[in-house]
């Protein structure tokens, strides 16, 4: 109630300020932005009749709308809209999974829809409707919330508040199709800080989410009503020559199941949260420092998430871990024109799970390298290497888990030209090795993948057509299973109608083979047509069709399907200042 009252006061103040600037003699007005509508259709025909081995992967029909203008009234007041919504819900993961006929509340809070309005006067912004607000890495940031709040930035101060609903109650339904169900979740967030852009930022963040246990009937079977509160302190400092330090420490208090009874033996944190027998409290922290410049970056990052650290602002965060990585990027080997021939991007790190000793110790080594060199105008070479190793203790099994993935790629590119055209020839070879240890026998199995691809791209200097051709061979083998894929593809792009239209098409044939079964065959044809109807209005169309026929590795033999996808949409871009 107090919150609503506060917001009303703020709104009244707003109207007052709006009126005062409305008294200006010549209030300038401008509007810019985009609006559009698009349709997507999907078709799937499976043979033989009644075979359901391949399932549809898009909605049969979908219409999407977007309306994102910004209205500017004078110098200081702006009114941006962010409306993006779709006609048919298609949720498969998260709280809205399976829902088919949403009510109004479920429709406006569905993450596929945005209805946001952010009127801004000087340093004060009112946030209404759907907002994706990232306060910090450890408090809140991933979740869209439908509600109301503000973002005030007087001088160097930062005062932010927002409250609303991130998900509505959804009843469990056994199906078919089943609906997992969800509890209505209310969210609150608050930030108080000080910031000078490019110099420093210090802020306290508070975020809370609470489910309403009575909001779904019947309630979900596996999902529990929860409540979480997190408080964090973040600091960012920026120094001369690109050096920086960023740090954040946070503590969460999280009730994993609100149906569990209140527990006086666990310390409360009233008025923010009551302790239940399933309430846990834990810490998290992250810090990074480094340097950023035009030709050289280096950074060290560490992140600790205690096993009991949980926040409703990042629902997919995996806790109980300590990560540390060192990243670098640099340019080397100068050309005569002071540009560089060589670019290297690399990272090295380790992640340790089970920092709280409640699970099996797991260590992961992560290493990435991308090394690009432009030797001369004609020849360049890209080399990349990626390693990811995962290892745990044995637990109840005789041997621990050990999975190691190694990938290496080499990609030389050669170009040559004459007065009529430029030729580009690119070869790419990737070797991937994946070793996995069996936890019972201790035996390791290797999974090897080889990929070779050759690309040829001729560019005609006096014509507008741009074709490309490629051939690819892919082979994967594990003991007992061998997969081989061969792909040939070609694309063509060219402008038309006095450059008002751009066309791009591609065809691809793929032949696949599993062990000694007969080959599978796949043919894909696709095309883009982008038409500029006038300076403001464009019409974009994309069509693709995919025919796949299995070998005799599946029953019924000869099974095949034809899949098609069609997208078309109009986009209107406007800016009254340019008129």
């Amino acid at each position: 109630m107090k919150i609503k009252f506060g917001l009303c006061i703020l709104l009244i103040g707003w109207i007052g300020t709006s009126e005062s600037f409305g008294q200006d003699k010549k209030p300038s007005f401008s509007a810019s932005g985009t609006m559009g509508v698009s349709y997507e259709g999907y078709g799937l025909s499976r043979n033989p009749s009644g075979w359901l081995g391949y399932t549809p992967r898009k909605p049969w029909n979908q219409v999407r709308f977007n309306f994102t203008p910004t209205f500017n009234f004078g110098k200081n007041f702006s009114l941006p809209f962010n409306f993006n919504f779709a006609a048919i819900p298609t949720n498969f993961a998260g709280p809205y999974a399976g829902i088919k006929k949403p009510n109004f509340g479920q429709f406006i809070t569905n993450p596929m829809n945005n209805f946001g309005l952010n009127p801004k006067y000087k340093w004060a912004e009112l946030q209404l409707g759907t907002q994706y607000l990232k306060y910090s890495e450890l408090s809140t940031g991933d979740i869209g919330i439908f509600g109301a709040g503000f973002d005030l930035r007087p001088k160097t101060y930062r005062i932010k508040f927002f409250t609303g609903v991130s998900q509505q109650g959804i009843n469990y339904f056994s199906g078919p199709p089943s609906v997992v169900g969800a509890y209505k979740r209310k969210n609150w967030m608050f930030q108080l800080g000080k910031e000078k852009e490019g110099k420093y930022m210090v802020a306290f963040n508070f975020a809370k989410g609470k489910d309403v246990p009575s909001s779904s009937s019947p309630p979900p079977l596996t999902v529990k009503p929860q409540e979480g509160f997190v408080a964090s302190l973040m600091t960012d400092l920026f120094f001369n020559q690109g050096w920086y330090i960023k740090a954040e420490g946070a503590r969460s208090i999280f009730t994993k199941d609100l149906n569990t009874p209140l527990d006086s033996s666990i310390k409360n944190f009233k008025p923010f949260i009551d302790a239940h027998s399933s309430t846990v409290k834990d810490y998290a922290g992250q810090a990074s420092f480094g340097k950023k410049s035009k030709n050289f970056d280096i950074g060290v990052t560490g992140k600790y998430l205690g096993a009991g650290f949980q926040t409703t602002g990042y629902p997919y965060l995996q806790s109980d871990r300590l990560d540390y990585t060192i990243n670098t990027r640099f340019n080397a080997w100068k050309n005569k024109d002071k540009t560089y021939k060589m670019n290297v991007v690399a990272s090295l790190g380790q992640r340790v799970n089970n920092v709280s000793n409640t699970a099996l110790k797991a260590k992961q080594f992560i290493g990435n390298l991308n090394w690009y060199t432009q030797f001369n105008d004609n020849f360049s070479l890209n080399v990349n290497y990626n390693n990811f190793g995962f290892q745990t203790a044995s637990g109840i099994n005789p041997f621990g888990i050990k999975n190691v993935s190694n990938d290496m790629g080499i990609n030389p590119t050669y170009t040559w030209s004459n007065s009529k055209m430029v030729h580009l020839l690119s070869l790419s070879y990737n070797y991937s090795k994946y070793d996995e240890r069996d936890v019972i026998s201790g035996a390791s199995s290797s999974n090897n993948t080889h990929t070779v691809m050759l690309n040829y791209v001729p560019t005609f200097l006096k014509k507008n057509i741009s074709p490309d051709f490629s051939v690819l061979y892919f082979s994967n083998s594990v003991p007992g299973v061998k997969i081989r894929l061969m792909t040939i593809s070609s694309g063509l792009s060219f402008p038309a109608a006095k450059k008002k239209m751009r066309l791009r098409g591609q065809i691809q044939y793929n032949n696949g083979k599993l062990n000694s079964f007969t080959s599978s065959n796949n043919f894909i044809a696709s095309c883009n047509i982008d038409l500029k109807l006038n300076k403001k209005l464009t019409w974009n169309t994309y069509m693709t069709t995919n025919y796949f026929k299995y070998g005799n590795e599946i029953i019924p033999n000869g099974a095949n399907y034809l899949e098609s996808n069609f997208r078309t949409g109009f986009q209107y871009r406007f800016d009254t200042k340019k008129n």
């Binding site: 977007n66 596996t222 096993a307 995996q318 000793n357 409640t358 792909t487 883009n528």
Partner: protein, 303 residues
């Protein structure tokens, strides 16, 4: 002499009570690491209490102890606070973790207490759970003690290995095959784990998390046991956003268009042999691993 008589009387009560109620404890050898999750899963713990025919109904309490393998008691029921249950007749009474181990009435000691308060879990180790029925007033035994050993280690969801976070894949390679790899769920159980791999296209004006929570996945496949999946997308990655990015009335050169990335977000949902999420109160409650974003880009056109 009086003491001896008292002890004899006590033993008689114990023996008679034990004879009146028989208990059977059925327990998973690898229950969930999060103790509050035990009440949500009936298969974790079941206590069968059977009374002799004709005995009058009795109110009894359940005394539960958790011990380490060397016999040290690390947690037990606060019997003063524990609820009483009425047992009668020869028909067995079936109780679950809700009644046998109500966390609000359990008292833990030392590092076990701090671990529970911080994480909701006990340190990973072998433990013994012992259960006995006792009388409400004097807590005298009313049944024999039944114990079961179990191994406790919190479930660690798979970590997504490949494509790694923000990896940029070549569009032509990706059109033929994209290899997904993830670490197995830990600890490995005897039950067959199902990994449900899902990849979502990030549409224009969507955040990655929005795409995951809102879109129909382009890839939705259940993999039993294995930790690698080779996806043949059977798609063309040539679709582009409206090309006039600078608003000058003409389409931008193809080079600019091809530099646009097409984003995807992928995750693994880990399901047990009943098809249910392996963790229900940790994280998102859906047993979905922390998702990873990758991009598909026409690398050759870029140069």
């Amino acid at each position: 002499m009086k003491k001896l008589a008292f002890l004899s009387w006590l033993c008689l009560i114990v023996i008679s009570a034990s004879a009146q109620f028989k208990i059977d404890l059925i327990m998973s050898s690898t229950p969930p690491g999060n103790l509050t999750e035990w009440v949500n899963r009936r298969e974790v713990l079941t206590l069968l209490v059977t009374g002799q025919a004709g005995i009058p109904p009795q109110n009894l309490k359940i005394k539960t102890e958790i011990k380490t393998t060397d016999g040290t008691v690390i947690g037990n029921t606060d019997l003063a606070r524990a609820s009483s249950f009425a047992f009668a007749g020869s028909a067995p009474t079936i109780l679950t973790a809700t009644e046998v181990m109500p966390m609000e009435n359990m008292v833990f000691t030392g590092k076990y207490k701090s671990s529970l308060q911080r994480t909701g879990k006990l340190p990973a180790d072998n433990y013994i759970l012992c259960v006995q029925l006792v009388r409400p007033v004097d807590f005298a035994p009313a049944s024999e003690v039944k114990c079961k050993s179990f191994y406790l280690a919190a479930t660690q969801l798979p970590v997504l290995m490949k494509p790694y976070n923000e990896e940029v894949l070549d569009a032509k390679l990706a059109q033929t095959a994209i290899t997904f790899r993830w670490s197995p769920v830990s600890p490995r159980t005897t039950a067959l784990i199902t990994y449900r791999i899902q990849a979502f296209e990030i549409l224009n004006k969507q955040t990655p998390m929005q795409a995951l929570r809102a879109n129909q996945p382009l890839l939705d496949q259940e993999i039993r046991g294995a930790t690698q999946y080779i996806w043949q997308p059977q798609m063309s990655f040539i679709w582009v956003q409206p090309g006039d990015t600078d608003g000058d009335g003409t389409f931008d050169p193809l080079k600019t268009i091809s530099q646009q990335n097409h984003g995807f977000i992928w995750t693994i949902q880990t399901l047990d042999d009943h098809g249910l999420p392996v963790t229900q109160t940790d994280g998102n409650g859906e047993a979905r691993s922390e998702p990873v974003v990758f991009y598909v880009k026409d690398k050759v056109q870029k140069q």
